[in-house]
């Protein structure tokens, strides 16, 4: 996978009669593997394979949606699951594609690096034909002897950062634009670096989610995470020891009701209680504690609810007394939660809905309408009691009741404003709504690969630009004596960007012309015999040395 590559299908060696068939086969397979064709096929394959990752819900992103998909598609779901469609980017076949792509990349980079080193060590080559057979060729006349003219013209090339070499016959070859291949190689090698950084960060980092109610604190320990995804080589003992406390959470809205900002006032302390960090953590403004980045990701409401019931033997119980975590619907800001009372017989469950700002009105048909103001202006709790079997032995969400074996206990819900109290039917007990707290869902993540990945990304961009914009081009020049002085012949060839080079060549010729126009014949220079000028050696010429190569290109 190269923006350009040296010829990958080299002229096949004549198959000798004793050529070992296996070795030849392997060599051929290797050549095919590192060919641009293979790279192209692999690039298309990885593009096509990635599509699947956007067609199906992905476990690492949203396990709930995968679960839902499996429920909705009982026939196709398990089959797709076996094919790895719910974790495309972690599946064996996806890894196989990118490992093959990287293999082909390395296989192609090795010979290209060798070729680049060879090219940088070699002198710019001679012209392969008569100058006038190149598209770009020109002749400039000068009033100075050939050596001096060639010297002047060479200086122009050197000034334009051409790397020069003298060849027999007075021919000077210049070449520039090596940065193209250097950039291309850097671009491709950086992908290896990127992948190393990615794998390192994934293997030794972790990511998790933690919910904190206002005023509460939690230690950075595995048990306090709602979700935790450790890297393969990350052990929970390596979690940095600190405690997070949520002092305050606030969310604000624009006048049109859309959210404008969420802010969590967080304090991090070390195990001894000394404060490490204190920050207003907002979306796009994470806090860093001990190499762990703490992000504000979501929030919800925790109405402070006190439920008092009569247990067996008439004993008064308060199974719920404090903030009750509820799940917020981002579209309406209405939150849902549940209070489960399995100690009662029959069991009782309370469906709890919290409105942040209940607005009642009269609908067009005369029936009352309910709406919710997303701002916390009129918090109201709506409680629906249920009776029966809570199904507590089955795995279930803490936010909802499993109503499959429950019957409604009342035909009307309890509507309790903030500070109010509601009576459960049948003298079962009371529900008091004493306050509203918010909780913040924080994402904590550590990714030690980020510096490596960032460096690799920078190098990719750094290599990409010259690999696209620098072009390799060669210019040759030669001076031949004429009765009035000399004639400088120039030819040029661009390996890429021919239209632009045609202009560059014209400008170069004009510059040589100007430089030669300024030159005056040196002492005795004008009398040189034609034979002397045609001499292949320039060693004795003014300033001429056998190796006049300038290091590097541009």
């Amino acid at each position: 996978m190269a923006v350009e590559a040296p010829p990958t299908t080299r002229p096949e060696p004549e198959p000798g009669p004793q050529a070992p068939p296996l070795g030849e086969l392997l060599r051929q397979a290797w050549r095919e593997f590192r060919s641009m064709r293979t790279a192209l096929v692999l690039l298309f394959t990885i593009a096509a394979a990635s599509i699947f990752g956007s067609l199906f819900p992905q476990r690492p992103i949203s396990p709930q949606r995968v679960q839902q998909y499996l429920l909705d598609h009982p026939a196709a779901g398990p089959l797709l699951d076996r094919l790895g469609m719910f974790d495309v980017f972690g599946s064996a076949w996806y890894s196989a594609i990118y490992v093959a792509l990287l293999g082909a990349l390395v296989a192609c980079l090795l010979p290209r690096t060798r070729a680049l080193v060879r090219m940088l060590r070699a002198r710019p080559p001679r012209a392969t034909a008569r100058f006038e057979r190149y598209h770009n060729h020109a002749t400039v006349t000068a009033a100075v002897p050939p050596e001096q003219a060639a010297e002047t013209a060479s200086k122009v090339l050197a000034g334009r950062r051409f790397r020069l070499a003298d060849h027999p016959g007075g021919e000077v070859a210049g070449e520039k634009g090596y940065l193209r291949e250097v950039g291309s190689l850097l671009f491709h090698v950086s992908f290896l670096l990127l992948l190393v950084g990615l794998a390192y960060g994934k293997g030794y980092g972790y990511r998790g989610q933690m919910s904190l109610v206002e005023g509460e604190e939690a230690a950075n320990a595995r048990v306090n995470y709602d979700a935790f995804t450790p890297g393969r080589f990350f052990s929970t003992e390596r979690l940095p020891r600190f405690t997070l406390r949520l002092d305050d959470f606030s969310n604000s809205f624009y006048p049109d009701g859309t959210p404008s900002q969420y802010t969590a006032s967080l304090v991090a302390s070390d195990p001894a209680g000394r404060q490490l960090e204190r920050q207003q953590v907002r979306v796009n403004r994470p806090m860093t504690v001990d190499g762990v980045r703490v992000f504000q990701s979501d929030y919800g409401y925790a109405p402070v609810v006190r439920v008092t019931v009569k247990g067996s033997g008439g004993k008064r119980l308060t199974p719920q007394d404090g903030p009750l975590l509820t799940l917020r619907d981002p579209a309406t800001e209405v939150s849902n939660g549940a209070v489960k009372l399995p100690m009662l017989d029959p069991q009782v469950g309370l469906d709890v809905t919290m409105f942040t700002g209940l607005v009642t009105g009269d609908g067009a048909d005369g029936r009352p309408t309910l709406a919710n103001d997303p701002r916390l202006v009129n918090p109201v709790l709506v409680v629906f009691p249920w009776r029966g079997d809570l199904g507590a032995d089955r795995a279930q969400s803490v936010f909802t009741l499993d109503r499959s074996k429950l019957q409604p206990l009342a035909d009307r819900p309890l509507v309790i404003p903030l500070g109010g109290k509601g009576e459960l039917p049948g003298g079962l007990g009371t529900v008091a709504f004493t306050g509203v707290k918010q909780y913040s869902v924080l994402t904590l993540a550590r990714d030690p690969g980020v510096p490596l990945v960032a460096t690799a990304a920078g190098l990719i961009l750094l290599g990409l630009l010259p690999s696209l914009y620098v072009t390799r081009r060669r210019v040759w020049l030669r001076a031949v004596p004429t009765p009035g002085g000399s004639r400088v012949e120039l030819a040029g060839l661009a390996l890429q960007g021919k239209p632009a080079f045609a202009q560059e060549f014209r400008r170069l010729v004009a510059e040589v012309e100007r430089a030669l126009g300024r030159s005056r014949p040196g002492p005795g220079g004008a009398t040189l015999a034609p034979a002397a000028a045609a001499s292949p050696s320039r060693e004795a010429g003014p300033g001429g040395s056998a190796t006049r190569s300038r290091p590097g290109g541009d």
């Binding site: 010829p7 819900p57 392969t128 034909a129 190149y134 598209h135 959210p259 969420y262 979306v283 990409l464």
Partner: protein
Amino acid sequence: MSTARLAELSDTLVWLAVLSYVTAALLLGFELAYRVRWTGRAGVAVAVAGLAANAGAALTRGLAAGRVPWGNMYEYSVMIAAVTVTGWLVWVARRREVRPLGTFVLLPAVLAIAAAALILRVPAGPLVPALNSGWIKVHVVAAIIGSGTLCLASMFSALYLVAERAERRAAARRPPLVAGGARTADRVEVSEAIANYEAEEPAAAERPASAPGPGGRVLGLLPAADKLDELAFKTTAFGFPIWTFAIMAGGIWAQSAWGRYWGWDPKETWSFIIWVVYAAYLHARATAGWRGRAAAWVSLVGLAAFVINFYVVNTWVVGLHSYAK
């Protein structure tokens, strides 16, 4: 002016831009079909007026919402039309021969804006918190410029396919060329040195006389196929690093907003797919047997991926970038 009036003005300007672009596309199409030069010049003038309306629409929208005017799909569409038309006008100013191509640039621009105005329009409003970052300027602007230029490049590739086909047919009707007429020094040099480098400029002897239009009237004003190919490559070479940068800037932003620089969100996945396809185009163009027609088709696949990423992924696929609606 009140924000409501500004938003209203923005809507009017959007339709003015659509009207101007349609008119300009018709005028340029007339030039292309009947070689009437003055309609081409008039088309450019009307397109400039349309661009002014387009830019004005974006500006007033931004003022009405009190933020950058690229916070949702509608605004993104308006921006991308402005960028594409600007790109084409810059080319026209530099190389006149791309003027008749304006029809093929303006019509997609019109489609983008009209679809946005009819289907995707949302009232001017503020940004959701995740978008509230300085990176919206860097990431989204780079994405707009990168996708605009890459789509433009694919349009050139499509035109290349048309012109190339016409030239091939015209060449088939002509008597065969004298064999061996093209062994110039360049050709020897290139085959000896680096055969896989860019396509060699055909020597004068073997180049089909494409300038005076072998393929009928419409193609008569289209630049020669190899010129279009060159144009497509240059435009891709301009857009590809910008698209690369847009993805990287998105990664930096995602790192600060969501705590990870890459998470295979559907939008991220598709921007990666697009990146790979255009990377494949650049590789194909440097591969024997792929340069030319096959490479142009790869570029068209890239265009299709853009369309899918914008219209399908934004509206149907659930992901973190779903606020773009």
